[in-house]
């Protein structure tokens, strides 16, 4: 075999290995195909139907986006922090934590606290920066204190929900790559379809119905009411948002904490 043939042979072997790994990873396979198709459908319809500048307050799209950016920051920060579960498992630290004199639920809760605190802090920093920019006009329609309390509650509730969801997935998915892919598959459509980037009110009925099944919709709605809106017309309402977000966050978090972690 010539030197060039040996090189091609080595490339062939490496390619075969990576392709085999790709096709064996069902999460990678499905998410890599489904994600672009879902985004095409959701974002395409959303932008076409919903993003009419006159449909946001005074045509001020930048201020409209603040709530969506807060939710997006919480989403990615919380997901990234939750991935530390895999780092701990791969470094062996998870085993060290689990042989301590605490139940697995206590350890998982402790680890989730980190994700919740980091995700909430980063999201609230985005809010603070947005509030300090003169070009962004926040309404604070319930007064600054109450509106801020609502925003903080929303952000913490959202991070609790995301942390629970991440734990449920991490207890079923063995690799960090698979975890990220599935999270992307779940989270990107949820984000685009939550009212974060365009109002939901003008979407076709079936899409609006799907948006109501999306937990992030209630977080965005609550933040819009607290920070951006100058009334409640076209919104779901503070009571509904708090009830749905709170219930889902608690349920997912408790479910996630009851899952036994995959040690190896």
């Amino acid at each position: 075999m010539t030197s060039a043939a040996r090189t091609v042979n080595a490339w062939g072997a490496l390619l075969t290995r990576d392709l085999r790994a790709f096709f064996r990873s069902r999460s990678q396979l499905t998410s890599s195909l489904l994600l672009p198709l879902m985004l095409l459908a959701i974002l395409g319809i959303g932008v076409t139907e919903g993003l009419e500048p006159t449909r946001v307050r005074d045509g001020d799209y930048v201020s409209f986006l603040v709530s969506g950016m807060i939710v997006m920051t919480a989403l990615f920060s919380s997901t990234f922090s939750s991935a530390s579960f895999y780092q701990d498992r791969d470094s062996g630290m998870l085993k060290v934590l689990l042989v301590s004199p605490h139940s697995p639920a206590v350890i998982l809760l402790g680890k989730s606290l980190g994700a919740i605190v980091i995700g909430s802090a980063q999201a609230l920093i985005v809010l603070a920066v947005a509030a300090a920019i003169p070009a962004i006009e926040l309404e604070w329609q319930y007064g600054v204190v109450v509106s801020l309390a609502l925003a903080v509650t929303t952000v913490i509730g959202l991070n609790v929900l995301l942390s629970g969801l991440a734990q449920v997935l991490a207890s079923r998915i063995r690799t960090m790559q698979g975890f990220h892919l599935v999270m992307n598959l779940v989270l990107f459509p949820m984000l685009f379809f939550s009212g974060a980037f365009f109002p939901l009110a003008n979407l076709p009925g079936w899409l609006y119905g799907l948006a109501l099944a999306n937990p992030l919709t209630y977080a965005v709605d609550l933040l819009q009411l607290a920070l951006y809106a100058d009334g409640s017309d076209g919104y779901l309402g503070v009571g509904v948002d708090l009830a749905v977000l709170g219930t889902l966050a608690l349920a997912l978090f408790v479910w996630g904490m009851r899952r036994h972690p995959l040690v190896d």
Binding site: D88, G92, S100
Partner: protein, 329 residues
């Protein structure tokens, strides 16, 4: 730890009864019963996949057995009682971005230590283990030997009474290995009970007061190294046979021939390699070469060791199992 308390000394540090663990359909541990006395060093000896790490993981509380029970100092290994147990895992288990100090503080706090007690204990262990000057360094900057020392210091931080060690010196160079064992011996003198899983026969023979042989998830023998070697012939001969067909055929043929010779004890084979214990190598070796010199690629002679005992006992166990299966069939 135990000598001043009669009841405590009578209760085994670890008692495992009829323990079975399955991974899917495969039994990783099959009815293992084992008892380890206070203030002793016990070894679990067996090849890779024999169930050593699985047994330690059950004792540590990481894995739930299919059946059987574990008692640590007479108590079920519930989470709250794990503060009496320290673990050093087979693979290194450290966060590479944490400093040595942070590593110990995290562990101490998980085990309920805090304040001055934690600080004093961590400082003392870092000093004793020669790590004090590196305490502000990230773990990733440590050599393999120093990482092992840190893991041992971490396991000892909450003052455990039973220390589980899963092949703790695997992959260490001889200096690091010697240094690690010097530290272990020094902490042993403080009354710690050690359970060491290893496939290093010399290490087990040198360091352990009692040794348990695990084979295919079953405990095939338990005793002191001297008891386990009792009955072995004086010398051990390791014969590597020619194996051009890759099926160990010549080794098997030679083993069958050798087994009936006078003065020959146990004959076990692993692929092309035979382990034979004999009374007198001066008569055995010439006869071996007269029988089939062409079959022999390499031959080594040494006094019988715990390894020979392991091969003999594990081999006998396997033969008994096959005979039973044949009878049942």
């Amino acid at each position: 730890m135990t000598s001043t308390n009669g009841n405590k000394a009578q209760t085994p540090a670890l008692a495992v009864r009829d323990l079975s663990v399955a991974y899917g359909e495969r039994l990783a541990l099959d009815g293992v019963t084992l008892s380890i006395a206070h203030n002793t060093v016990a070894g679990l000896l067996g090849p890779n996949g024999s169930g050593k790490s699985t047994l330690l993981s059950v004792v540590a509380g990481l894995r739930t057995p299919r059946s059987g029970e574990v008692r640590i100092f007479g108590e079920a290994p519930e989470p709250a009682r794990r503060r009496r147990v320290g673990v050093v895992f087979q693979e290194q288990a450290l966060d590479p971005v944490m400093t040595l100090w942070e590593t110990l503080v995290l562990h101490g706090r998980l085990f309920g230590l805090g304040g001055n007690t934690l600080r004093r204990r961590a400082e003392a262990l870092l000093e004793r283990f020669g790590l004090a000057s590196r305490q502000r360094d990230a773990v990733r900057t440590l050599s393999g030997g120093l990482r092992r020392r840190l893991e041992l210091a971490r396991a000892l931080l909450p003052s455990p009474e039973l220390l589980l060690l899963d092949e703790p010196t695997a992959g260490l160079d001889p200096d690091a290995r010697r240094s690690f064992w010097q530290l272990l011996r020094s902490v042993r003198e403080e009354g710690l009970t050690l359970l060491l899983a290893t496939n290093d026969v010399l290490e087990a023979e040198r360091e352990c007061g009692t040794v348990a042989f695990l084979h295919d998830g079953r405990l095939v023998a338990q005793g002191t190294p001297a008891e386990l070697k009792r009955g072995l012939k004086h010398d051990s001969v390791r014969i590597e046979c020619v194996d051009s067909d890759g099926d160990g055929g010549r080794a098997n043929a030679l083993a069958q021939s050798i087994a009936s010779w006078p003065g020959v004890g146990g004959v076990t084979s692993a692929g092309p390699v035979l382990h034979v214990t004999v009374d007198d190598v001066s008569t055995f070796v010439p006869r071996l070469f007269q029988t089939d010199a062409d079959a022999i690629r390499d031959l080594r002679i040494q006094p019988s060791t715990l390894e020979d005992a392991y091969f003999q006992i594990a081999g006998a166990s396997l033969q008994a199992e096959r005979a039973q299966e044949a009878t049942t069939a």
